[in-house]
Every structure is written in structure tokens, then in C-alpha cells.
Symmetry: C2
Subunit: 306 residues, 2 copies
């Protein structure tokens, strides 16, 4: 049987070809050859016509987030969907979140403005151990971020759909505990998967449950944020500063009002970098499993969407 | 016997009075009363006339760096000098160093300039595990910084006067190994004590031993840096960016050329914050020890200067 590498960016195709040289990997198939395909490896969006692949068993993403597939809801139920779970991606994400939590905590934007005016101002900084950071989403990435923030001395709490236990992290679960979770979060980091339940969760109702003057970092998906609620929360002093690595429309159009606001920093979806050479062995292992009739790893549960 | 709280800033005086209510703490003495003084607690600079205090035994600093005392070289040899060794200060320092190493590593200044132009540019980031951070100075602060950088995934190496062993940190010692240490440092952090041997260590000769395009963070003392060598190293591309929390003259005069350079960020000596309420018990414990004829802790060795 064969593998279809579907519209992969070249670095991914190169890495997968190199790691899977024992496999019959094709970059296109037509007509009867589609019957040979047992697995499809895709980057952002898989093919939408599955009738052509009667023997297809696995849709293997090369990334960690599969919402663009799952949210469409048109996946035939006999197909398995797998993603990559990659420690180096968690390392990258933790770097990004630590950088921006510390940037907010040290009021670096303020210091840099003072610097531009050649002013020398001693500020008072709250010790990290008196400052609470809340993580929305305690998957692989959220757990790594929480653990590292705790090592840096911050008080760390996390919120997830189902109850979790993580050493050194105060864990909350379910909608009923969301407001209790939010009530102490000086910094809030969104690392949720995008599902119908989490779409638009970062809205004015949620902001109002935070301590006044909190900081927000969104590294989940652009669709988690109700964009129209953000500037009013900054204007009202409910939020002090915001860092967004994800937006509903990327690249962000030049006319977007967020560009104008000095309290908002947008980064171009670079928080988490996955290196093809790191992820390829895991992808090839899943392709091998399907060939051997074994169950692939890191499968998506379509009933919960991640 | 009595304690002289010598020109302490009010928050320090308040904390020491509160923690040492069982002691005879005075804020000034004159004439014969100076004979009662067995310990002097000072902030930046102790008194220079010691003849007035015939029973003086301990000079207790309220900070971690005592170079302003030791470098003067006029301390009578029978006096003990003690500093504060404070875990919360190490936490603060590590926060600062992690923030600025990550800021340099993510080329955040570049991203922010792109942001100001509303440009959306995907950058390539080296994984932390392929990036070496070197720490000059492996005392309490340097060791905490090194350990936390290693947890974040960076390759970490350290250099110190005498050999050290720290798990997860490649340790170098002595002048003979300095160039070997520097040769891989993408980021260099100066956390050395200021002594005659380390004054001016950050000079063009040292910069030339770094990989081209490295980043420098000075959180030691302003006197570690030969200021005239810095802009030429940036111009030559030997350094890519510099963060300075300490300067020879503080506050930095408005006419200083570093203010003009977008590759240099100056922060107002705020990397390490010591909170009086955290340090006061340790200071009082030393004052009690002197009263009881015991040896105080965290003494300075005048022969090495820290």
C-alpha cells in the first residue's frame, strides 16, 4: 500500500521522504492509483474528497492543532486522524510564553518607552512568587508551560475541560470553576484547543472575571478571541497589555485596529515552531503502524475535537 | 552593645527595626555613644572613619554586592564584612536574565520594528537546544540563572575564577580557559563580582573571542564593561544586541551615546530586587551572632574581594 504526501511544504516533504525511504510515498495519485493509498500526510488541510480513496485509513497531520480538519465535520467516521506530539514544540511554546509573561511582568514596554525618552526610573516589581499566572488548557504544551513558570517562581494555576493533577500547579476543571480560576490570574495564557466549546471563550465576560489590570497572551487560535471585546477591555483598564500570536485572519490586514494600539503586540504565528526533522520519525512510525495493521499514536477523538 | 543603622533607605530601616525590636538599633550616634557600636548596617557605602567606633566588629551590607566597600581598600583588617545572600534576589535575577536572553533569542526588537510597520514576517528561530548561553560568574545568582536556562532547553556553560561543578552546566575556570569558554557563547551574561581582576573584562579582546553576532547582557557592574569598546563591536557585527542593567554612571546622563543606539537596551539597575522584609531576618541573625560572640554568616573574603 502507499502513502500520499498531500500538498506538503518542501521542508516537510524532504524530511518525510528521508525518514520514510522504505515506504511508497507519492506526492500525487490519479485514477485507479488512489486505491493504493492507505495514509495521507497533510499540513494544514487534507483533501475533502475521500470517495477516491476507498482504502484510506489514516489522516496524519504534520502539526499539533487539527481544528481546521475537525471543525469542518466532514470526516468519514471510519478514518483515523493523528497529529504530532512533539517535545521540541513544547519547548518552543514555553520559550514564547515565558518571554511574554516576563515581558509583561517587568513592564518592559513601559521601560522601553522611558528609555526612548532617556529617563531613568526605578520601578517596583512584584515578586514572581506573589504573582499568579493562569493557563487555559493543560495539554502537553500547557503542562510544559505551567511547569516552567512554576520553576521561575510564579504561582501557577491551570484550567482544563477535565480534571488534571500537575505537581506545583493549582488545577481547575470545567465551566463551573472557570470564574474561580480567573479571579486570581494576573497573567492569563490561552493554550486551549479550538472546539465549538472554546470558540470565542476570550470575551468580555471572561475579561470581567480577571483581576483589574491583567495581561493576556493568546497562543491558542485566533478564533478563541472575540476581537471586538479586546480594545474596550484595555480602555476600561480590565486588561493592561495583550500579546497575540494567533489571529482570525493571518497575515493580519494592514487596516486591522490592533496594529494601532501600543498595548497590543502581535507576533506572526511563531510561538511554536515544529521542526520537520524532529517530527518526521513520529509520522513515519504512524505510517508503519497502519501498514502493519496496528493502531497509530496521538489520535484525535472526534467526539471532543482534539 | 548597640547597632548603628547607617544612612539606610527608609524601607530598609523599617524592616530592620521591625525584625530587630529586641536590639538597641540607633540611626545616629555622636561622641562617647560611638563606643557602644558593635555592628553597622549600611546600604551602599559604610562610614569611612572607623576610629570613632573602637568596639566595632561587623559591617553588614543590606545588598549582595559589596565592591563599593571592598574596592576602597581602607577597611581595618579586624573588621568583618557580611553581605546578604537571598534566594528571592536570585529569583529576580533569573527572571531578568531569562527575559532578556529570550528577547534576544526571539529577535523581539526586530519583530517589534516589523510590527510597527504592520509587516507579517515569519522568522526562523534556532531551537534553544542548539543555542549556547554562557554565564560569567557562577556564584549564587549565576548558578540559579544557569540552572533555569538549562531547564528552558538552552545549552549552558559557565566560567568562574575557581572550578565548579553544576549539573547540566559545562563549567570552565580561570583565565586560561576564558577563550575556550567564549568560543561557543551565542549569548553572554556577566554576573561576575567586581574585583581588580574583573574590572574592564568586557572589552574588545573578549568580544573578539565570541562567535560573530552574539548577544551581551551585563548584570554585574558597570565597571565590568569598557564602554568605548561596545559600539565598535556592534558596528563590526561582532555583537548583535546588548542589554545593560548596570552602568559606570547611574543614572546614565542624557548625553550618553548608548541611548542613541537601537541595538542597546539600558534598564535602570532593576535586574535584581532585594525585598527588605525578605533580607531583614538574615541581617538580624548576623547582628545577634555578633552580640553573642559568634561568627556572622556570608562574610566577604577581603583577599579575593567577594
Amino acid at each position: 500500500m502507499a502513502v500520499l504526501a498531500y500538498k506538503l511544504p518542501q521542508p516537510w516533504l524532504d524530511a518525510i521522504m528521508a525518514a520514510g525511504s522504505h515506504l511508497d510515498i507519492r506526492t500525487e495519485v490519479d485514477g485507479k492509483a488512489a486505491r493504493d493509498i492507505k495514509s495521507i500526510v497533510f499540513a494544514w488541510t487534507p483533501p475533502t474528497e475521500f470517495e477516491a480513496y476507498p482504502n484510506l485509513r489514516l489522516l496524519q497531520a504534520v502539526g499539533a492543532g487539527v481544528d481546521r480538519v475537525v471543525m469542518k465535520g466532514s470526516i468519514p467516521p471510519h478514518l483515523l486522524i493523528a497529529r504530532v506530539v512533539d517535545d521540541s514544540q513544547a519547548e518552543c511554546m514555553s520559550e514564547y510564553v515565558l518571554l511574554h509573561v516576563l515581558r509583561h511582568h517587568h513592564r518592559l514596554d513601559h521601560l522601553q518607552r522611558e528609555f526612548a525618552h532617556r529617563r531613568w526610573e526605578f520601578g517596583v516589581r512584584t515578586p514572581a512568587r506573589e504573582c499568579t499566572v493562569g493557563i487555559l488548557g493543560l495539554g502537553r504544551l500547557g503542562t510544559d508551560v505551567a511547569r516552567k513558570l512554576a520553576i521561575m517562581g510564579f504561582r501557577v494555576r491551570g484550567w482544563s475541560r477535565t480534571p488534571k493533577v500537575i505537581a506545583g500547579v493549582e488545577c481547575f476543571a470545567g465551566r463551573a470553576m472557570l470564574d474561580a480560576f480567573l479571579s486570581a490570574c494576573r497573567h492569563l495564557v490561552c493554550l486551549l484547543p479550538l472546539t465549538p466549546q472554546t470558540t470565542g471563550i476570550l470575551d468580555k465576560r471572561l475579561f470581567a472575571a480577571l483581576p483589574k489590570g491583567s495581561y493576556l497572551i493568546n497562543v491558542g487560535r485566533g478564533e478563541h478571541l472575540i476581537e471586538a471585546d479586546l480594545i474596550p477591555a484595555l480602555e476600561a483598564g480590565i486588561l493592561s497589555g495583550v500579546t497575540l500570536d494567533v489571529m482570525r485572519e493571518e497575515p493580519v490586514p494592514a487596516s486591522h485596529p490592533f496594529w494601532n494600539d501600543p498595548r497590543i503586540l502581535i507576533t506572526p504565528h511563531t510561538a511554536s515552531v515544529m521542526y520537520p526533522r524532529d517530527a518526521a520519525p513520529q509520522i513515519i512510525d504512524n505510517l508503519d503502524r497502519v501498514e502493519k495493521g496496528l493502531v497509530p499514536e496521538n489520535l484525535i477523538d472526534l467526539t471532543i475535537g482534539y
